[in-house]
Amino acid sequence: MSLSADLCLRMYRDMWRIRVFEEEASRQTGLGTVQGALHMYCGEEAVAVGVCANLRPDDYLLGTHRSHGHCLAKGAEMDRMMAELFGKAEGSCGGKGGSMHIADLSLNILGANGIVAGGIGPATGTGLATKIRGTDQVSVCFFGDGASARGTFHEGLLFGSLWKLPVIYVCENNQYQQWVARKNVAVVDSVADMAASYAMPGVSVDGQDVTAVYAAAGEAVERARSGGGPTLIEARTYRFHGHSLGDRQEYRSEAEVEHWRQNRDPIKLLAAYMRERQWLGDREDAEIQSAVNAEVEASVAYAHGCTDPSPEAVTADVLDTAWRVTQ
């Protein structure tokens, strides 16, 4: 398992892209251009990026309510994502989905999901499709620690294991659910340990260390692609912001948040790792950041230039009305 400088630089840039995109989306919410809820992924970037660095464009990805990072890491177009948050016709979903439903079917990003654990069953189903067709795609499903309480987690992992499906179940254990600490509503510490009930390998990794996530995911992807069945990965991570914008966060201390921001920021950690190896210097770092800033700014400009969905759009896309049954 050796990480190249190139790969690290790519992952570094991808983490920055997520960070800056989200901070900007949050700013736009303040301006009123973006409406609805934003569930910020900041602090957890290493999970999406470390996992997705192992994926091919034709691999399947299913997300959560907190999926900006997953979508960007899998390659979704930033312009169209920003336009979606703006509710524009040119947005990823034509303005019909918003933050919780971003999808890009051309990249097999089958969608963020507003239902906690709502993607686990469908992700398992994409694995079943792959198995039936005999292709070698893998499916990745992200979900939070809170999702591990839901029955669909239990049923989905059972099916994945029973049929040895090429699915990687990635639990982003950020220690909190909506406004409650995991420890107050869970009975086991490690979600990875629950894999035993499904006769499935379960691994727990430091979700702030993108190299660790990359390695764990790589192993799981390799196993899945070669017919070895599913894996449950628990990435221990932390969200820097509240559950969604406006959360007063009374359930945790500022000091705790500050600690993670200072010492456990996945971007800082990767920067240090690369600097140690001379893979990143001040100049490259500045270049990356300014490129990312430019890309995000461009996405805002793009979104501003987009059009509102047409009135007719409201009744389109309910069913495929062009379809007519033929003999």
């Binding site: 990823s92 999808a103 239902i115 469908p122 189903g125 079943l128 029973l162 069913l319 007519r324 003999q327």
Partner: protein, 323 residues
Amino acid sequence: MRTMTFRDALREALHEEMARDESVFVIGEDVVAHGGPYAVTQGIKERFPNRIFETPIAEAGIVGAGVGAALAGMRPVVEIMYLDFITCAMDEVVNQAAKMRYMTGGQASVPMVIRLPCGVGRLLAAQHSQIMESWFMHVPGLQVVVPSTPHDAKGLLKTAVRSPDPVLFFEYKRLYVAEGPVPEDEYVIEFGKADIKREGEDATVIAIGPMVQKALEAGIALEDDGFDIEVVDPRTLSPLDVDTICASVAKTGRAVICEEDSSFAGSGAEIAATIAERCFHDLQAPVVRVGSPHVPMPFAAPLVDRVVPGVAQVADAVRRVME
């Protein structure tokens, strides 16, 4: 024309579609063993061994897997052993399958059929006898199909399998053994096209599922009263063929709506409301609904007989609108 049972017609449709399209597969509980409790999936394991999946008892897992497979381009035909158990998978049906196309701005397609054996069969009481068509009618993005004859069962199931959007396919248990003509040649039946099962001049009886046969029997009995009824079978409740229904009511001036389920907020309510809105000037009598009382299905046979509406209730309702 050859005749066959409703159950055999469904099975033939499945076999044909699986032979025609490699992306079609079957998933459900005990679907291999006896071909399910109603033997509809019999023979599939032998003929398409890699395209039938017998599952643990986990309806959310089953429908969830169906949604994902469909998103990935397969065409799952999901069997929910009894309709009542779809309550365990409503998020998958309603928040995932139904809304995926819309939420993604038209990108996603969920070509999944969910087969739902429903209604009273043997006496299994309240948790094994429900119908609930109106639930699914009310969910945008779903199609609701209710065949009443072997012919329609086959044609509609084949269409359902080919549909790019999710279909809830209602199979009334007591219809499985019904026999009827089924053409040898292949055919499909378009969604949203009601079928006039009997032409008549005096009153329109819109009948759903097993009520179609009861309406036809009532139609014969009513000839003695001098009443000539028209029996309209919507075949799909969503999309609903409002035009055919309204044209018939315009002709007869009278409407009776028959469903086996509780009428309160049932599928007939939508039909009655539509007629009230669209056919006001044609109607010569109040619309009448025939359905079961608003009670769970009891166990004892004499109680069940009072719940499930029969031929007599249809005939009485027609007499009422003819007054």
